[in-house]
Amino acid sequence: MFRLALRNLTRRRTRTSLTILGVAVAITFTIGLLSITEGFMNGFNMNAKERKEDIYVLPRGARGLGSPMLVSSGAEFSQKRVQDIGGVPNVETVYPFYTRQVYFGDGTGSLTESFFVLDGVTPDFLPDLRPSLEVEAGRLLEQDDHLGVVIGAEIARSVKLQVDQTLPLKVGGFELRILGILKSTGGLDDYIVYAPLQDVQLALDREGWVTGAAVTVKDPTMAEETADAITNLSSEELFGQTSEQIAGVVKNLMSMARAIHLSVASIALLIGVLFVLSTMLMAVSERTKEIGTMRAIGVGRITIFRLIVTESLITGVLAGGIGCLGGVGLSRLITWAIHRFAGAAFLQAVASPRLLGAGLLIAVLIGILSGLYPAWRITKTNIVEALRYE
């Protein structure tokens, strides 16, 4: 049965190849699109697990911002507020930070030419709030460090940097020396440059200003009330948001993106189904007389039905396989494009095994579904009429 189905598909190689290609493109497109949200969610989830802060305090202008340590809206609030925040009941410690996206350019147009995140933090920030981060080489920031940085593993790898080298990046005319390189986490921390807060403020000429503050609380069950109390300190200037609330914002954004991607992908897949369906209808119609002959010599309807569905299933599986390979390629291309044109090296499209499995499953379903109607139709045809078919 399988051999016969395979041989039937090779009768019109160009048509079969084009059909497989058409569905493969639909699968590639679907995997490519969904790999964007998959990658972003993976990165975010991995990052969220490692974070110990309970509340982020952000400038008023940054409302709705997803990831305060990664994206800066440009808004700031006075560092004097940090003390006020520290005085709010239930607040344990306040870690002010200044975040700015910085551009690494070697002028070659390579992948290393990207935006990374420069986070100005206090020395206790990494040990307290990122306890899982370990250094691969060198050390973490210390109290009296000046113009020294700790960089993420991916920055070190892509820009080929080592401890004691100078960062190929001048911030406000200052040169920053690499004190330590973090072990790879596979998450967004791999793309962050941690520097002493006062150095970043000085270099950017923003002394006395911060883009946010991470806050730990004594009683996490009261985090939301504490965040509200922080907001009430000066609701014109800043607002407090719990980590869960921020995660919710990111998840909502990702869900919306996924829904949009799924809608577009569904259209592509519908076209895939119609494509295979039309090919199978044509292929089966051309073979009406042949199928009539098979029926005349005693081949049952179910066998014919299975033969046709097997043919479309093979088409689906082959298209799925090629589509998965294409999907991996497309997700890499998207990652490259994000790095190259959006300059966001910490964002990646990920064609995970789960996504590839879903792609293959969809292709198999396309194959089966598109074979059902032609198979049903041809098996309903009267044998005498089928034999007369020209």
């Binding site: 009768r11 002959t293 029926r295 010599i297 005693g298």
Partner: protein, 227 residues
């Protein structure tokens, strides 16, 4: 007296075309015995093919009964009819109806494969049959690489594959030139005499009909002579 392979009683097939009844086969009574070589003649539209289709169980009678090897086909389910056609009936078609993607050998093996015969046995029997019909060197040729006469030989070998009780041939020489027609007619005669195969063959060609042991003539759906 040989056993009866086909027995038709008051067999009728009525079509409704344009609101009018057309009696394609009209009350035919017929007996074909084992080893008979029957040719069916008659003008176009006389009901020859319809009669053959009814006997071959690829069409259902409007009324009347058919018994094949003593088995009444009327009450059989579709899968039982499929099995009956596979095991007891061999079809030979005017335009050969071979599978274009298969070689001659595979075409002959195909009915056996569908009947669940082992692959080794399929190859053995298909090779024997193709050798017997005169195509020992054409086993691995596809239909498009064979002449019309050779294709019909493959068609006959395929019809014999599952050792049926009867061979039903609908104008098997209709697409052949006169020389090949004669060769194929003689081949049918050999199938009948050497295999003892019961054959029912439709033809317009008197020369083809002459090789048969019995000639039925039809007109307007009725048997008008049996000689």
């Amino acid at each position: 007296m040989n056993e009866v392979v086909v027995e038709a009683r008051q067999l009728s097939k009525v079509y409704v075309m344009g609101g009018e009844e057309v009696r394609a086969v009209d009350g035919v009574d017929l007996e074909v015995r084992k080893g008979d070589f029957v040719s069916v003649m008659g003008p176009s539209g006389s009901g020859k093919t319809t009669l053959l289709n009814l006997i071959g169980c690829i069409d259902c009678p409007t009324s009347g009964a058919i018994r094949l090897d003593g088995q009444d086909t009327a009450g059989l389910k579709e899968v039982e009819l499929d099995r009956l056609r596979m095991r007891r009936i061999g079809f030979v078609f005017q335009s050969f109806n071979l599978m274009p993607i298969m070689t001659a050998l595979e075409n002959v093996m195909f009915p056996m494969e569908m009947a669940g015969v082992s692959r080794k046995e399929q190859v053995k029997r298909a090779t024997e049959l193709l050798t017997w019909v005169g195509l020992p060197k054409r086993l691995h040729h596809k239909p498009r690489e064979l002449s019309a006469g050779e294709n019909q030989r493959v068609g006959i070998a395929r019809a014999l594959a599952n050792s049926p009780s009867i061979l039903l041939a609908d104008e098997p020489t209709g697409n052949l030139d006169s020389k090949t027609t004669k060769e194929i007619s003689l081949l049918f005669q050999r199938v009948n005499s050497e295999h003892g195969m019961t054959i029912m063959l439709i033809t317009h060609n008197e020369a083809v009909a002459e090789v048969a042991s019995r000639v039925l003539r039809m007109r307007d759906g009725r048997l008008v002579s049996d000689a």
